[in-house]
Amino acid sequence: MLEIRNVSKVYDDGTHALREVTFNVKDGEFLVIIGLSGSGKSTLLRCINRLIEPSSGQIIYHGQNVTAANPAELRRIRRQIGMVFQHFNLVKRSSVLNNVLSGRLGYVSTLPSLLGIWSTADKALAMANLELVGIAHKAQNRADELSGGQQQRVGIARALMQNPTLMLADEPVASLDPALSDSVMQYFEKLNQERGTTVLCSLHVLGLARRYATRIIALKAGELVYDGDPQGIDEQRFREIYGDEAVEHSLR
């Protein structure tokens, strides 16, 4: 469903964030991207929906060339791809419900949305998605009144408003208490198994990656250094990805 072909990204300051990265994602996969911070995970995820413009290479999503899409086409592609962020990226002063509804913006016409007018169907969908992540009772609260774990669930509910076929998740549990990591990751697992949504998720804890991934790719300094089974990452591979000084704690 998703083809990444020779994608490179060089930032204005000269940093090579991605170097000729190539891989394919099949429907229904739970693909986890691992690597050190700064290895290019966030850049890679953002290149897929062009929140960051790739410097070269091609990205094909369901047969559509994302990299060559015009603004209107790009918006139509983006609305099929949900995205969840490390820092949740909620509008803190807005209500939980408004944050969730904003996930639907790609599907509604501009004028009513600017006036804050939403159809009953959209409102019902928002409540259903909040129900799904277990915080429907907080719908009218301001987003910043919620705990970190709850805020990330709002982020997931917002992405679900897009009825996405692909879900991008950039370090979705990195700013959460480790004890809450599983509770959030389970929503992605459920989504993947029950709705068949393809999940592309970056993680830096290998333990979590092993537990949820059907396939792992690893980035090191912008290069793809591993693509395969979660079980395939042995001691030597681990050192290759994370460097010689790294010790894997979460394995045991």
């Binding site: 983006r78 099929q80 904003s102 913006l105």
Partner: protein, 458 residues
């Protein structure tokens, strides 16, 4: 260098301040001392102050010699004292330049008395009074053939002078009878052109006491009157005795009503200026936000242009702008509004821009990723973040604008300040007092109100 005698640098600094420090390699320190000394000497020469003022250079000069000595013996120098002593001449000259005269502050306290007493008796309420007047004509100079007109006060009382004519500076006796016993009456001199002034009796302008039998008597001096030519017939002056015949209820003065009306005008002025200023500042502020204007050289240029315009406009006092607009559109509140609008655009534009610059980029990224277009991103990602601070800034601006528009009135920009300036010029200090109190109350109330609103929003 440590073995060298510290006396030489000290001597060098004695001859030319800073030279010792320079010779020791302390270039900035020595240069600064030399520059300061040259500046002070230049100022002293230019201001042509008395030779006594040259003494203020001595502590700095001495400290500079000591400093060179300390530096040469490689001990820790006392930089703070050195430059505090260096600042001393500057303060002495600033004292001189600002014409500070504490003696005048205390000796002239009586001059401000009418103003202060007006402030403490603001003319909001007044008692209804009926004033009775007894009068008699008086001729300056003698001789005179006419019989002076005499009029009796409505509530009784007649007056009589010992002579019916006289020259300026001569003394005569004024007698009165039939006045209410034990009351105070005021003596007035009305000259041929109907100008009123109080008559002085035994060096006092105070009201004159009536005895228990309803009569009074006192010596008065014929006051300086209008200039006249010697061949004219004598001028007709009039002596009046005025007293309160009856007191009625309290009523709201015309002053109070005018204060209220003009206060409303001032608040309306501030309201209009803030509204129009905010509406114009909002789109402008997007151009002044660095984070939105990045990437493209044209946008960056636009950013610097709008920031530059805002900075220049903000540095011009609204008072000065009001003078310009008074010339442009004429006296009145409209000129004041225009001056405030211009200043408000610049001030709010900068604050608005800064709140756009400080927004969290995360939500914008998140909303962009849902396939939202640019308008939807602004409506759902930018506005909810900037609107609360914008509202808070705007309310605060209104508060400032009310204060500013009172001042703008002084140069003809309408509102309460216009009235206050007039009353001060006419020396109507009780009315001026009423205006000042009204301004104080409104400003304090608005200050409190806007603080509450800001607290709620932020």
């Amino acid at each position: 260098m440590a073995n060298r005698s510290p006396t030489l640098p000290a001597l060098l600094s004695l001859v030319i301040p800073g030279l010792g420090q320079l010779s020791l390699g302390h270039r900035e320190r020595g240069g600064l001392i030399l520059l300061m000394m040259l500046l002070f000497i230049g100022l002293l020469l230019w201001l042509q102050l008395s030779p006594l003022y040259w003494l203020i250079l001595l502590p700095f000069w001495a400290m500079n010699v000591f400093d060179a000595y300390v530096l040469a013996s490689e001990r820790r120098p006392d930089t703070t004292t050195l430059f505090l002593l260096g600042a001393l001449p500057l303060y002495v000259m600033a004292w001189q330049a600002t014409d500070i005269n504490l003696q005048r502050l205390f000796s002239n306290v009586n001059k401000v008395q009418p103003l202060l007493s007006g402030l403490f008796q603001p003319l909001f309420l007044e008692q209804d009074r009926e004033i009775a007047i007894a009068s008699q004509q008086f001729y300056v100079p003698c001789p005179v053939t006419e019989t002076p007109e005499v009029s009796t006060a409505s509530a009784g009382g007649t007056i009589e002078t010992s002579v019916t004519c006289g020259n300026v500076g001569e003394t005569m006796t004024l007698r009165g009878e039939g006045f209410p016993a034990n009351q105070q009456v005021a003596l007035w001199w009305v000259n041929p052109v109907n100008a009123n002034s109080r008559i002085r009796i035994q060096d006092a302008y105070e009201d004159f006491p009536v005895g228990a039998d309803g009569s009074f008597e006192g010596e008065i001096v014929i006051p300086e009157a209008i200039p006249r030519q010697s061949d004219q017939p004598p001028d007709r002056h009039r002596i009046e005795v005025r007293y309160v015949a009856s007191e009625g209820g309290w009523f709201i003065t015309e002053t109070a009503i005018r204060v209220l009306g003009h206060m409303g005008e001032t608040i309306a002025q501030a309201l209009m200026a803030t509204l129009v200023g905010a509406i114009l500042a909002a789109p402008f502020s997007f151009f002044g936000a660095r984070n939105l204007m990045a990437g493209n050289p044209g946008l960056v240029l636009l950013y610097y242009f709008s920031r530059g315009v805002m900075n220049i406009l903000r540095s011009v006092e609204p008072l000065i702008m009001a003078i310009v607009f008074v010339v442009w559109v004429g006296l009145g509140p409209f000129a004041g509004v225009l001056a405030l609008v211009v200043h408000t655009i610049a001030a709010l534009g900068k604050l608005y821009s800064e709140s756009i610059e400080s927004i969290d980029e995360g939500p914008i990224e998140a909303i962009r990723s849902t396939g939202a277009n640019q308008f939807q991103i602004i409506a759902y990602g930018v506005l909810p973040q900037v609107l609360p601070p914008w509202i808070a800034f705007t309310v605060y601006r209104w508060d400032i604008n009310v204060r500013m528009s009172t001042i703008i009135g002084f140069v003809g920009g309408g509102g309460i300040g216009f009235l206050l300036a007039q009353w001060i010029r006419l020396q109507d200090f009780r009315s001026a007092g009423a205006a000042i109190w009204a301004i104080a109350v409104v400003v304090i109330l608005l200050d409190y109100l806007s603080a509450k609103v800001r607290e709620r929003i932020m």
